[in-house]
């Protein structure tokens, strides 16, 4: 698997929103795109996903530079975006093809791994925000994407659910070694989850800084290293304000 961006820019009606973003993701890497609200994070992620095709530059997924949705990518949105007329199980198997029994078996496996095995018959209206987002995660995983794109997936959740789901994402990653691009405005989240944090800044947004988080294995929330890295990022952000 490979994901390479070269000089990606996007203009909306004369206003450039992101400019010349280039990056190369290593297989199995978790990349964080960190930036303030409105700096073009979602725009960049939509370009990578192929949902947006009006960007300039190239996005190459496994060498394929076609501007379209690629089979190898999965997307988890900020909102769960479950189809309200389908049950949890039907939502999860939505992206699968083949015989119903096979689809159900795969969907159940992923529902179990997000801790919702018991809730497969519920409808989205019966779920809490956190449960719904778990379903969305399972739905994105069933097709075994090689690249998982997440757009502030936990920002609407309370602090406890958020931490649970962050750990869930790490577990998922350990099992599948998916390449992940995670958009977030939460510095702690970026440092806790990502191997490499890219800071997107300015108008139009550009990658202003790259920060490798070298700490391997399970990280401790609020550990000394992460706190230090956070202070660095904050100092960096302040520089721009002045």
């Amino acid at each position: 698997m490979s994901l390479v961006l070269e000089q990606v820019s996007r203009t909306f009606g004369g206003k450039q929103v992101i400019r010349n973003v280039s990056l190369t993701a290593e297989p199995g890497e978790i990349i964080g795109l960190l930036g303030t609200s409105g700096c073009g994070k979602s725009t960049l992620l939509r370009a990578i996903s192929g949902l947006d095709t009006e960007y300039s530059g190239t996005v190459s997924i496994n060498g394929d530079t076609a501007k379209q949705v690629h089979k190898a990518t999965g997307f988890i949105f900020q909102e769960p975006r479950l189809l309200p007329w389908l049950t949890v199980l039907e939502n999860v198997r939505f992206g699968l093809e083949g015989k119903k029994e096979d689809k159900n078996a795969i969907a159940r496996k992923y529902l179990k791994s997000v801790g919702l095995a018991e809730s497969e018959a519920l409808y989205p209206r019966e779920l809490s925000g956190g449960m719904a987002q778990r379903v969305a995660i399972a739905r994105a995983l069933v097709t075994s994407p090689e690249i998982l794109l997440l757009d502030e997936p936990f920002s609407a959740l309370d602090a406890f659910t958020k931490m649970q789901l962050q750990d869930l994402l790490l577990e998922v990653w350990k099992e599948f070694r998916t390449t992940i691009v995670l958009v977030t405005h939460d510095i702690d989240e970026a440092l806790y989850l990502c191997d490499r944090v890219l800071m997107l800044r300015g108008a139009p947004g550009e990658i202003s800084r790259e920060l490798a988080v070298n700490q391997q294995g399970p990280r401790l929330r609020g550990s000394e290293e992460l706190t230090k890295a956070k202070a660095e990022i904050l100092a960096d952000l302040k520089l721009v304000v002045n």
Partner: protein, 285 residues
């Protein structure tokens, strides 16, 4: 259900608690419904009783307002001599055919306009212009073109049914959440699959609303059509009642319209509840 609710508690507990809760709710709901029904019946029963009494005493002259018992015996009389079933049958048949044709036309045009911007540019202005004409105004023209036979009547009813169904289909399709369509696109669905798997189910609620108001208009138009000229039907009974100075026949027809109209709406409502059981809101009215 708030977005910010914490889930520190295991999820399984929530699903375990659900069932008994629902049971007690529905067990409570029964007597409450019965009570509501009884309360709602008080006034109608009082009214009918007073009406009956005043008619018998002679306060209301029978040639203007016959007693409820007379109206009921008119209906049972027609039921016994068999003429009632012919009238009901032909009226229901007209509404049904008009409803089917009107809905079919609305589905075809509504989907075209909803899905294709070009079709919208082509058809919608015209349809919007026609819509502002009260549909009953077409009646003389239809009679001129088609006479007062069945085709004219059914066309009129179909025209009445068409507009609410069409408008609801178009708004249903164009209001489908773009975010849900993106979910489909992420799974590489093509246009046809997007329509079948996302756009149609998402616009179903709006379509069903259209069907119900279309049916309501269908009943209104069948009255108009049968008043124009018919030899059988509930609307024809209205004319007969007027011409023979028999208000009991008119009242009998009105009551039958009310009962059958309500029954047909109830059937659509059942379908609606079945088809939309996933919705967050309970279906009202």
């Amino acid at each position: 259900m708030t977005k910010y609710q914490s889930e520190a508690a295991p999820i399984f507990e929530a699903s375990k608690q659900r069932k008994p809760k629902q049971l007690t709710q529905s067990a409570k709901a029964k007597p409450k419904n019965l009570r509501l029904f009884l309360i709602g019946s008080i006034l109608p029963i009082l009214l009918i009783a007073t009406w009956e009494m005043l008619s018998r005493v002679g306060v209301f002259p029978a040639y203007q307002l016959p007693a409820p018992s007379t109206v009921v015996s008119t209906i049972t009389g027609m039921a016994i001599d068999g003429s009632l079933w012919g009238h009901i049958g032909i009226t229901v048949y007209r509404v049904f055919l008009g409803f089917v044709f009107g809905t079919a036309a609305a589905v075809v045009l509504g989907s075209l306009v909803g899905f294709y911007a070009n079709a919208e540019r082509l058809f919608d202005p015209l349809i919007q212009a026609f819509r502002s004409i009260p549909s009953l105004a077409w009646v003389p023209l239809f009679i001129l073109w088609m006479g007062i036979g069945e085709p004219a009547k059914i066309t009129m009813i179909a025209v009445g049914v068409f507009f609410p169904v069409y408008l609801n289909i178009v708004s249903g399709i164009s209001n489908v959440d773009r975010k849900l369509i993106e979910v489909g696109k992420m799974y590489g669905l093509n246009t046809w699959q997007l329509i079948r798997r996302i756009i149609l189910p998402a616009s179903l609620p709006s379509f069903l609303v259209g069907l119900r108001s279309g049916l309501g208009l269908g009943w209104m138009f069948v009255v108009a059509a049968e008043l124009m000229g018919a030899s059988q039907g509930l609307g024809y009974l209205l004319v007969v009642g007027q011409n023979t100075l028999s208000p009991e026949i008119i009242l009998a027809s009105i009551i039958l319209f009310a009962v059958i109209g309500k029954l047909s709406d109830w059937m659509l409502k059942r379908i609606e509840i079945k088809a939309l059981h996933w919705q967050d809101r309970a279906v009202k009215s």
